[in-house]
C-alpha cells in the first residue's frame, strides 16, 4: 500500500515543483515597455509605453458586440472595462508580472515585452 502511494505522491510533487519553478521564471523576467494588443491572435496595436505622455483609452470592439476598453498610461497598461461576464481581465490590473492580460471570452490579449521579444512574437 505504501509503495502504491509513492508514485502518485511523486507525480504530484514533481508537477508542483516544476510548476512553481516555471511561475518564478515567468514572473522574474525583465519587464519591457512595449505593449501589444491582440484580438483573435492578430496584432492590432503596438505601443511604446515609455513615450506615452497623456493617458488615453483604446476601445476594442468584437464582431458580436463585445467591447474591451484598454487604459494606456505612461509606463503602464490595463483593462479598464470589458463586456465579458467575469471581468477577470479587469481585476488583473496592470501587466506588471510579465503575464499577459487576457480576456478569454472576447479573445483579447495584451502583452508587455521588450522590443526584441516583440519582434520574436511578430515573426
Amino acid at each position: 500500500m505504501k509503495a502504491k502511494q509513492a508514485i502518485p505522491i511523486g507525480i504530484t510533487a514533481a508537477v508542483l515543483i516544476a510548476g512553481l519553478i516555471g511561475c518564478i521564471a515567468v514572473m522574474s523576467r525583465d519587464k519591457g515597455s512595449t505593449a501589444q494588443i491582440y484580438r483573435e491572435n492578430k496584432l492590432l496595436y503596438t505601443i511604446d509605453l515609455d513615450s506615452v505622455k497623456e493617458p488615453y483609452n483604446i476601445t476594442i470592439a468584437g464582431d458580436h458586440g463585445e467591447e474591451n476598453i484598454i487604459r494606456v498610461e505612461h509606463g503602464s497598461i490595463s483593462m479598464e472595462s470589458a463586456s465579458c461576464p467575469d471581468k477577470l481581465c479587469v481585476s488583473q490590473g496592470e501587466s506588471h508580472t510579465g503575464l499577459p492580460i487576457v480576456c478569454l471570452p472576447n479573445k483579447v490579449r495584451i502583452v508587455v515585452t521588450d522590443e526584441q521579444e516583440a519582434d520574436a512574437y511578430a515573426g
Partner: protein, 163 residues
Amino acid sequence: MHMQAKEIAALGVFAAAGAGIHAAEALLPPIVPIPGIKPGLANIITLMVLRRYSPRAAAMVLIVRIAIAALLSGNVSGLAYSLAGGILSFAVSAFVYRVLGRDGLWFAGVAGALAHNGAQFAIAVFIMGKGVLVYAPFLAVAGCITGLFTGLAAKFASDKLSP
C-alpha cells in the same frame, strides 16, 4: 442498468449538493486574477459518488449537476465548455481510481484537476495563440493545489459517511 430506488434517491441528493456547491462557487469573486483558475469544489461530490457507488453513477451525477448549475447561474452559454472539461476530467479521475483503488482517491482529484486545466489551456492556446503559454506553470500549480484539496476532502468526507 437496473438501479435500486434507494440508490437513485441518494444520487439525486448528491447531484443537488453538487449543483449547490457549483452555483455557490460561481458567485465567489476570483481568488487569483488568472483566467481558468477555480477551486472546483463540486468535484468533491463527484469523487465521493465515484468511491461510494460506481463510475457510471458518478458520471450521471456529474452531468446532472453541471446542467442544473448552468440553469441556476443563468450561464447556459458556458454549458458546452463546462461539460467538455467536466467529462474529460472525470474520465481521467475514474481511470486513476480504477488503477489505484480507494487509497488513490486523492490522486484521482489531482489528476482530474490537472486534466481539466490542461484541456481548458489547450482550448485557450487554440483560440488565443501561443502567447498565453506563459500561463501553463500557474495552471499546473493551481491544478495540484485545488486537486489535492478536493481529493482529500472527498476522502475524508467518504470516510465519515455511514456505509
